[in-house]
């Protein structure tokens, strides 16, 4: 029974592969002549994975080629980044990643198996992902200023949650501690959801959360949002004021989702992928999906992304060093 199943499976795989081969031969003229691979390092089902699959689907319609999402999770994206850095520079293997692999890892880790600049060709910034500060719905404070004032009046410490040492949540928390002098006690979790659970259970005072999660939890009515980090308000949470608007400058950095190709990929291919990505990102349904999941759509040119990276890298580095986070 089992053996028969294996044989049948192998045969259908072989048939599928043959079909793919035929399709590839027919489409050899233009890029991409072969199936394209999106390497994603977050776990299947995570927000980046879901976004990648959505965009992959749209690109494969456009390119008439399969665009396959391959999950290479683990080690803060080091494995996935290294894999793409060593892949052939033909544009068929692309890295969909967030700032962690190209900013946080290089700053935090002395030895890294890839070079975030020399090993990659920036293709496109898909979106920015801002981080919010949230509290239980019955919390007396309604914004960051009220929260800080209340905490100072009450005395004692404040417990806040993050999704790990060196994560943007941790960095913003430490920045808030330094700016306000509050006795903020950092509690690290393995993700944002366990921290929210502990906050709803009354064990944390506040926690940070991504835009999509904040939106979902807000709809459930169990939390309130005190403020959002990043350069400007986001479409997913238009009524939430930024930290800067509330008189807390220094929180303007926002995480991003971007696509990289291996270094030495031809400029023409990079430009084509970037332009197609921008069109997909700007299409109506993709935009609304992104906003629902808390992402602010960007979809610019390779040059725009490269400039942003050069500008932001030193700012993040400073923030990480100031937080005292270390990996080794």
């Amino acid at each position: 029974m089992q053996i028969k199943y294996i044989r049948g499976w192998a045969m259908s795989l072989a048939a599928g592969a043959a079909l793919l081969g035929l399709a590839a031969a027919a489409q050899a003229q233009e890029f991409p002549a072969k199936p394209v691979k999106f390497v994603v390092w977050t776990a299947p089902g995570g927000s980046i994975d879901v976004l990648s699959r959505l965009i992959a689907e749209k690109l494969s319609q456009r390119w008439k080629q399969p665009v396959v999402v391959e999950n290479k999770p683990g080690a803060s994206g080091i494995l996935a980044s290294e894999y793409v850095a060593r892949a052939p520079a033909d544009g068929l293997t692309l890295l969909v990643t967030i700032n962690t692999t190209h900013i946080n890892n290089p700053v935090l880790q002395s030895k890294l198996s890839y070079d975030p600049v020399k090993d990659f060709e920036p293709v496109s910034q898909l979106a920015i992902g801002s981080v919010t500060l949230i509290a239980p719905a019955n919390h007396p404070a309604n914004n960051v200023a009220e929260f800080v004032a209340l905490a100072k009046k009450k005395g004692g410490g404040v417990n806040y949650g993050s999704w790990g040492v060196g994560s943007s949540a941790h960095l913003f928390g430490e920045l808030l501690r330094q700016k306000t002098g509050l006795d903020l006690n950092h509690i690290a979790y393995k993700g944002e959801m366990p921290a929210i659970t502990d906050m709803l259970g009354g064990r944390l005072d506040v926690t940070f959360a991504g835009g999509g999660t904040t939106r979902a939890q807000l709809a459930g009515g169990k939390i309130k949002v005190l403020g959002i980090t990043g350069p400007r308000r986001i479409s997913a949470l238009p009524n939430v004021a930024t930290f800067a608007e509330q008189g807390f400058p220094g929180f303007e950095l926002a995480g991003w989702v971007a696509v990289y190709a291996p270094a030495k990929t031809s400029k023409g291919i990079v430009r084509k992928i970037s332009a197609d990505l921008a069109e997909v990102v700007h299409s109506q349904d993709v935009q609304s999906r992104m906003v629902e999941n808390g992402f602010e759509p960007v979809g610019g040119t390779p040059e725009q992304f490269a400039t942003l990276y050069r500008d932001e890298f030193p700012k993040w580095a400073e923030l990480i060093k100031a937080s005292g986070a270390k990996v080794e």
């Binding site: 089902g45 494995l79 959801m193």
Partner: protein
């Protein structure tokens, strides 16, 4: 009568022809991948996520959850027939189920597992419907201190569960804890015991350890004792359990269901803990604990109903709070967001058809599984007559594919092989791998929660005693420890495990 109305709404939504087809597809696919060692529901659901893009949200969720509970049925099948737990939660089923199979009673073991799972599935589905809202709040009451104490209890239970010397079992627990420390420390971000291998920075995978120590090791040991295995498979036995079997199994099924329902709600190792806890409980209650580990039917009925109940009730935190309690539930969150549904408490009120439809489909799915699987038990039993020279390479191949597909890295495959060899050495030394594997799962969670509780209390260790839930669990742990040390119990335990 709100409940009846809601369930009627759910049944109407779930019983449309198209949704029934997806329910059946999911449940059968789940059983299949549960039967095949190495390919678990996480990998399958992940691979099928893109397929659900085009489906209605309800159909997609019905199929995906069918894979999950179907796998619980299937996982026990390989655990019983080949001592290869398809799922972590079937680990304890393998202890007595496989012994039953070796004694020519594979049929009754499979039938009792399926019937117990069905019963547990029905009860748990009803429980979800009745207690969804209040039970969601119970999970919230479990903070770091409570989790730590619960896991301490689990580890002490692992020592009680082990065969052979208490000292060896303790050594296995400690070894498991040490292995669990490999990887990045959540509280400081420091990387421990990785020897510079990036693949190890997230720790050693559970599947790697479990598959190596239970699966590969068993195959290797079997190669050595070929003669004995051939004899054991010669007789398969009747399919249906005897009246005596049913009489022995119904109470453990009931207790396992209750225990599993409660433990399944808790985030983390709910279903795994449930099956271990149910097995331990049965052994404690048994008049003659000596039969456990040697083919006791209670040792199959209790953990099987517990893990299925746990698998079902783990939907409660997801559906009521939007909080995934295990990797499968995390994938369900992903599936929901793909369809533009934000998981959380609002799903119940804003999308009643989806919420109740999914719940009703679970009951329908469980019914289909038991109706289809009991006749199919015969087919699974036939697997035993497949010659090992074909079966072993096939299993090894599937193990490799399964392990590789977790993270797409070859280091995991190599590690699985290493743990396989290690498992053989341990068994030769008379050490049980089960406590090691449990400690390996619970260790990292336990450390995380211990240190989190201490950070939250700012270094005040009394938090573990001031919380009533935590204090109660610690008292239970202490009593169990005393029992192990007590000379009377030691004698009893020695008799129980006497070969």
């Amino acid at each position: 009568m709100v409940l009846a109305d809601s369930l009627a709404l759910g049944l109407a939504a779930a019983a449309t022809p198209i949704n029934l087809v997806y329910c059946l597809t999911g449940a059968l696919l789940g059983t299949l991948i549960g039967v095949l060692p190495g390919i678990g529901p996480v990998a399958t659901i992940a691979m099928l996520l893109p397929v659900t893009f085009k489906l209605e949200p309800l159909s997609a969720l019905i199929m995906l959850s069918g894979i999950y509970y179907g796998a619980q049925y299937g996982g026990s099948t390989t655990a019983i027939l080949m001592k290869l737990p398809g799922e972590a939660s079937s680990v304890v089923t393998a202890l007595d189920g496989y012994e039953m199979a070796r004694r020519g009673r594979a049929g009754p073991a499979l039938a009792v597992a399926a019937l117990g799972s069905f019963f547990a599935g029905c009860v748990a589905t009803l429980l979800i419907a009745v207690f969804a809202v209040p039970l969601g709040d119970l999970a919230l009451r479990f903070g770091p201190a409570e989790y730590f104490s619960l896991m301490a209890l689990g580890l002490v239970a692992a020592v009680v569960l082990a065969r052979g010397s208490v000292l060896k079992a303790l050594a296995m627990v400690v070894l498991g804890l040490l292995l669990g420390l490999v990887g990045t420390d959540v509280n400081t971000g420091f990387v421990r015991y990785t020897f510079g291998i990036a693949e190890l920075s997230d720790g050693i995978g559970f599947v790697v350890v479990a598959m190596g120590m239970f699966g590969i090791a068993e195959i290797l040991l079997n190669l050595e004792q070929r003669q004995i295995r051939e004899q054991a498979t010669a007789t398969v036995g009747r399919l249906w359990p005897t009246r005596g079997d049913l009489r022995a199994a119904w109470k453990p099924t009931l207790r396992g269901t209750l225990l599993g329902s409660v433990l399944g709600i808790l985030p983390g190792g709910g279903a795994i803990l449930a099956s271990f806890a149910a097995y331990t409980l049965e052994k404690r209650l048994a008049k003659d604990p000596g039969r456990f580990g040697k083919g006791a039917i209670e040792g199959v009925a209790a953990p099987e109903s517990a893990n299925n109940a746990g698998a079902q009730t783990s939907f409660i935190p997801l559906l009521t709070l939007g909080i995934p309690s295990n990797p499968v539930m995390a994938l369900m969150v992903g599936a929901m967001t793909i369809h533009g549904i934000a998981p959380g408490p609002q799903v119940m009120t804003e999308q009643p058809t989806l919420f109740w439809g999914l719940i009703a489909s679970m009951w329908l799915g469980n019914l289909m599984l038991v109706v289809l699987n009991l006749p199919l038990v015969g087919v699974w039993v036939k697997l035993l007559s497949v010659p090992y020279r074909l079966l072993y390479p096939a299993i090894l191949l599937f193990c490799c594919v399964g392990v590789y597909s977790l993270n797409y890295n070859a280091v995991d495959v190599v590690l699985t092989a290493v743990f396989g060899l290690f498992g053989v050495v341990l068994i030769k030394l008379g050490c049980e791998p089960a406590p090691l594997v449990l400690a390996f799962v619970l260790g990292p969670m336990m450390e995380e929660n211990l240190r989190r509780a201490m950070t939250l209390s700012r270094g005040d260790a009394t938090v573990f005693l001031t919380s009533p839930i935590s204090a109660g669990l610690l008292v239970a742990t202490a009593l169990m420890l005393l029992l192990i040390v007590a000379p009377q119990f030691r004698r009893m335990r020695r008799d129980a495990f006497a070969e």
